[in-house]
Subunit: 154 residues, 2 copies
Amino acid sequence: MANLNSSEDIDYGILDTLVGYKLRRAQVNIFNDFSEHCSRFGITPGLFGVLSIVERNPGLTQTAIANALGNDRSAMVSVVDRLESMNIVERKPSASDRRSHALFLTPHGEIFYKELVAEVLKHEASFTSLLNEGEKPLIIDMLDRIANHKPAKQ
Amino acid sequence: MANLNSSEDIDYGILDTLVGYKLRRAQVNIFNDFSEHCSRFGITPGLFGVLSIVERNPGLTQTAIANALGNDRSAMVSVVDRLESMNIVERKPSASDRRSHALFLTPHGEIFYKELVAEVLKHEASFTSLLNEGEKPLIIDMLDRIANHKPAKQ
DNA sequence: TTAAATTATTTACATTCTTAACAATTTTAA
DNA sequence: TTAAAATTGTTAAGAATGTAAATAATTTAA
């Protein structure tokens, strides 16, 4: 039975040639799967990014982490509040600058993060299996180029 | 002078190996540039997607367009309202189904869309220049695989 | 012909992102 | 040394986006 107006019949026109559009569709799908995998941890992709930076760079300030992730520092407040309320991260007063907070994983956070990473790697493997030999480093390299491109203001 | 805590000094750990994280960073950057290019048109990436589908598939219903773009049909209402208020798109009563609206570009919308596409292609060329021979079709193919991947629920 | 499904729509809500402002503190420059 | 400028975390407000549930009108299926 022909299903009129099913998505197979749709002409996507220029969208099918735009890297930005394809990036968006891919990103939404992989983020949804990430969220499903990590829902039992109560962790979103954004929270995972913060945790990963804190784990590898203990003692960084909120602003430094925001900059590393391309976020605004004001958005860090509620994120860190949330991670603190989950007893995963703690703010400690910075020795050198009394304005800023140094962030660390709590002992429980260290264990939590290890289990979380195991789940994230399952998710990643599911998507990496779609890529042929050599394609993963290549797509990551291309994505880095796109992420770091700063076109001149016209 | 050594700049402590500058982003070059940060260890991204697992993030540097996650396709989802890299996708996110690339997508945000390319969408921001898209938005800058199209701000004088008042068009966001989301609105451009709808316009592109309407232009190539005149007469489609709102629900069909939402499905094509992976959006919820309730989100289409305000989008179409906005495009109608800009005199770019018009809702016409469907001949076959009095519940639904068929969407078309207005005469002005046709001209508008052509100018818009010219600007979008400038934006696209800026990013495509980052890719070597053969890399654009390859990344689009990989992104399609990632976008269409439906992992089995565990 | 009745029951079930679909369409566009509205409403509400949660997220996320931006922007601007603020007090406390640090840095820079006179 | 001191005054001005910049930075930090924070709060608050607003825009954008996505999701979920409900509704009336209409169509489809039993």
